[in-house]
């Protein structure tokens, strides 16, 4: 009999078992430990609400709207559920799968498949999903910008954090699939606006019933923020501007508060934030006119004749010219072997006339007398060529030529270059915000302000205006200031469009030549003349002449008056 063999057979079987156990428990032990951990621990995230954005009078610029979002429980989602979703959400199965793939964190939690259901649809789905726990309709808060295009450049928009950003921001508590502000205030103070998500860690049994609460962290809402913007001005300005490409910036002259900042063509931040209408989004992103570009701070242009204010102030301050002294304008001036033109034949002009009529010949002469070095030095004092330091992202510094760096680059500075810079042409580049700040100096009689747009992060410190005295003689500033008024009131003044019955405006136009394209149009100014409440800059890209800018400014000021904003 094979009695002993029987024992050997079982010894073999038992050794095989021991080997199997060694493999499962020792070699793969960690793997199964993790699986058992994920079996009984569930994390239920809880989202806070993002801080809202108000204008200076507490009107909502960025709100949080209740949004019905559809989630699906992947563990229970079968073909029937998928076709149910496809039918009721009105999107194809492929699209549903794409959304699931994009939003998937873990298979244990419901995955977002559709954002922003209509109320009717939300109830319909919820009703049908009553006996199907695979489909969940959840109430979320979604960002809404009631003024859409008028405010979008200032507010920015929200979107899921990009891969390149996440590597940078990982250490600051951001994680993948976080929603983050792009551009404008949303980006500038994202860390204050963003909510801190919390959640509870729960021990569950096999049926998913809660056994114990292992940990809880309350979600923290973001901080509300108050801007310096006057939304009524903002909307009126945008309405005046929206036919053109360009931007309008309005500052409160004494403080540097940004009352208005619009850029055209605009875009609707709601479309980008919702992220649903792919066609419209790509239209915004690929527009030839660079819709996302905030032309007020992120682009710079030759300031043209508006720069004459700087040259004039500089000449007066350096005592290079008296108020009585005149130059005769014959329509052009020959410097070297080149003719430098004027917009007209102005005849005998003193400084005030030349500013009012924007006479180039006068300023060619004046510039040559004062010298490039002094002009550039004055432009430095007006803070051209450097960022204003406004609390918005993507500000550019513009460009101010420097004699020193020109020398280092072996570029010669010719008298013609001096003539050019005297009328704000050449290499000089200025952003509309810089131009607005420049004109606010004349509005407030010689004080330099630092523009800011965030008035207060509620629950934190208030921003206080940063005002410094500019070391120009008061007389020089006041002279140029009154000349600006004459540009409006003189029958020949370039800004005479703005000569309004019930508002005293002062201004300076500029027509910037840009190679082969049509000229840009500028108007900088302030109003009311005696006690300025606003300092404004209207800039239009490639419109041909400053006339159109004065038209836009006029339309804007008229609607300001109509709404009692001034």
């Amino acid at each position: 009999m094979r009695t002993r063999n029987v024992y050997l057979i079982f010894l073999g079987i038992f050794s095989f078992i021991a080997l199997g156990l060694f493999y499962v428990q020792v070699i793969k032990g960690n793997y199964y430990s993790r699986l058992s951990y994920s079996n009984y621990i569930r994390v239920f995230p809880e989202e806070g609400i993002r801080g809202r954005i108000f204008d200076k009078d507490n009107r909502l610029i960025a709100d949080n709207q209740v949004s019905f979002d559809c989630y699906v429980n992947l563990r229970q989602a079968d073909e029937k559920v998928m076709s149910f979703l496809s039918l009721h959400l009105g999107i194809s199965r492929a699209e549903i799968r794409k959304n699931i793939k994009r939003n998937l964190k873990t298979r244990d939690l419901p995955v977002l498949v559709y954002k922003g259901l209509t109320k009717e649809k939300a109830f319909l789905i919820k009703e049908h999903a009553l006996n199907n726990s695979a489909v969940i309709v959840k109430l979320n808060h979604s960002r809404f910008y009631p003024y859409a295009e008028s405010t979008s450049h200032v507010t920015g928009y929200l979107s899921q954090i990009s891969k390149s950003l996440i590597t940078k921001l990982k250490d600051y508590g951001y994680s993948t699939q976080d929603v983050i502000g792009y551009g404008g205030v949303e980006q500038a103070i994202d860390k204050f606006l963003r909510s801190e998500s919390g959640g509870s860690q729960i021990q569950v049994d096999a049926r998913g019933r809660q056994i114990a609460l292992l940990g809880f962290k309350a979600a923290k809402d973001g901080l509300d923020v108050k801007l310096t913007l006057d939304i009524k001005m903002q909307v009126a300005a945008f309405n005046a501007l929206k036919k053109y490409k360009g931007s309008i910036v309005i500052l409160e002259p004494d403080t540097g508060k940004v009352l208005t900042m619009v850029s055209s063509p605009g875009f609707d931040a709601n479309i980008l934030t919702q992220g649903k209408d792919i066609q419209k989004i790509s239209q915004i992103l690929t527009d030839k006119n660079a819709r996302l570009l905030n032309r007020a701070i992120s682009a710079s242009y030759p300031p043209a004749s508006t720069f004459k204010l700087v040259v004039g102030t500089c000449a007066l301050d350096n005592n290079k010219i008296s108020l009585e002294e005149t130059f005769n304008c014959t329509g052009s001036l020959k410097i070297g072997n080149r003719n430098f033109n004027c917009a007209g034949v102005h005849g005998v002009q003193n400084l005030e006339d030349a500013i009012a009529n924007s006479c180039n010949v006068f300023f060619y002469n004046l510039g040559l007398r004062v010298g490039a070095r002094a002009i550039i030095e004055a432009a430095h004092r007006f803070r051209f060529g450097e960022r204003t330091g406004i609390d918005l992202p993507y500000e550019v510094s513009g460009f101010l030529p420097s004699l020193l760096s020109n020398k280092l680059l072996f570029k010669k500075w010719y008298p013609g270059d001096t003539a050019n810079i005297s009328i704000g042409q050449g290499e000089l580049l200025v952003s509309p915000l810089q131009a607005a700040r420049m004109v606010s100096i004349f509005a407030n009689n010689g004080k330099l302000v630092k523009p800011y747009i965030i008035e207060e992060i509620l629950g934190m410190d208030k921003t206080s205006p940063n005002v410094t005295k500019l070391d120009f003689g008061n007389a020089a500033i006041l002279t140029v200031r009154s000349a600006m008024r004459r540009a409006v009131t003189d029958p020949t003044g370039t800004a005479r469009v703005l000569n309004m019955k019930n508002l005293s405006v002062a201004g300076k136009t500029g027509t910037a030549q840009v190679g082969s394209k049509r000229s840009h149009g500028w108007i900088v100014g302030f109003a009311p003349y005696d006690k300025p409440k606003i300092a404004f800059c209207v800039f239009l890209e490639n419109v041909g002449s400053s006339y159109w800018a004065t038209q836009v400014a006029h339309q804007m000021l008229v609607s300001f008056l109509k709404e009692g904003l001034l």
Binding site: R2, I13, I17, G29, S33, S36, Y40
Partner: protein, 374 residues
């Protein structure tokens, strides 16, 4: 008396391990606070729990063991065919009851006790086969040789009838064990290898037929064994969860009452068929190795009796009982780590359940008597 104790010592230890594991799986369930109860109430409520019932079954089984160990085993020679007839009656009764009640029937209600005839069948087939192959039947002819019909076909038919009835209950696991016991007895009885091959060929021929006889869920389980992930929430769920339980125990285990898989009921049948996973989760690789060592020692001590006995009938009984335990242990543990299909089989001495425990100790009683008559 001392000799008989050595056989029963290890099984009792395994039983205690089993009772601790049953406690682990069930203690969360009795939600009441037992501190406020009087002693009598405490005792009575204890015996109402699964642990209490298992303790009672252990005591009953030990008494049965003691009684059986006093009966001269040769008496079983005479009783074997009578017991076989009794078994067939029981199985047919269960079978008919199953048809009448339109559902699975594994238990016979006998007063307050439920009895599983399929457990009895395992021991019964051991006895019947031991008698059938006892060569002394033909008057001590030492060189007696059975031909293929007498040595295989006939006993095969004897075994396959109860096997079929048990598989139809449906209790595939027990049917397989009964059949494997038959195989090991004919193997021990020097069954020629060429017959084995012939038999294997035959099995392959009839396999499609057997497959069609299986219940849908049994087929599903066998398919899931090949790949548990085809149905992770259905038939594959048990295997996946028990693998997680065993694996997450790691080297030293999660500790007493700390097995999350069993405590939170991720592991189905954690106190019956999958009780090994409970133990392995709490005690880790060390605990499970020790348990397997115990089982190995138990089987060795039974086979030792077979080796030392000079009575062919006694030898075959011991081999049959050893393989009855051995195959159940082997298949049960292998299925908890996904190396064998899930067929409903208790782990001897560990799993909750009276029938299995009682039959196991009665079997040990027989071995004990053989040992005392060496």
């Amino acid at each position: 008396m001392k000799k008989s104790l050595s056989i029963v010592f290890i099984p009792v230890i395994i039983c205690l391990i089993g009772i601790f594991s049953i406690y682990t799986n069930t203690y969360l369930n009795n939600g009441f606070d037992s501190r406020s109860l009087s002693l009598i109430e405490k005792i009575s409520s204890f015996f109402g729990t699964l642990v209490g019932k298992q303790v009672i079954w252990l005591l009953v089984s030990l008494s049965a063991y003691w009684l059986v160990s006093l009966i001269y085993y040769r008496r079983l020679y005479d009783a074997a065919y009578f017991l076989y007839g009794f078994l067939l009656i029981l199985l047919i009764f269960v079978f008919v009851l199953g048809i009448v009640r339109l559902g699975a029937q594994r238990w016979l209600k006998m007063g307050f006790l439920n009895f599983q005839p399929s457990e009895f069948a395992k021991l019964c087939i051991v006895l019947v086969m031991a008698r059938y192959f006892d060569y002394r039947k033909l008057g001590n002819v030492q060189l007696f040789e059975l031909d293929f019909v007498n040595g295989f076909i006939l006993p095969f038919i004897i075994v396959i009838i109860p096997c079929f009835l048990i598989a139809k209950q449906p209790d595939l696991g027990s049917a397989i064990i009964v059949f494997l016991v038959f195989i090991s007895i004919i193997y021990a009885k020097d069954f020629p290898m060429k017959w084995f091959l012939l038999f294997a060929g035959l099995f392959l021929l009839v396999f499609p037929f057997v497959w069609s006889l299986l219940e849908e869920y049994q087929r599903q389980r066998l398919l899931v064994f090949v790949n548990p992930n085809i149905d992770p929430l259905g038939a594959g769920y048990t295997v996946i969860q028990s693998k997680i339980a065993v694996g997450s125990g790691g080297l030293f285990g999660k500790g007493w009452l700390s097995g999350t898989q069993s405590q939170l009921h991720f592991l189905p049948e954690a106190h019956t068929d999958f009780i090994f996973a409970t133990w392995a989760e709490e005690r880790g690789f060390f605990g499970s190795t020790i348990l397997i060592l115990f089982y190995a020692l138990l089987i060795k001590s039974i086979v030792d009796v077979a080796v030392r006995s000079r009575d062919s009938f006694a030898k075959l009984i011991c081999i049959g009982i050893a393989s009855m335990f051995g195959f159940q242990i082997g298949i049960n543990i292998l299925m908890t780590i996904g190396l064998s299909p899930v067929v409903g089989l208790p782990l001897p001495f560990m799993s909750y359940g009276g029938s299995s425990l009682l039959i196991s100790f009665i079997s040990l009683g027989i071995v004990s008597n053989i040992k005392s008559n060496l």
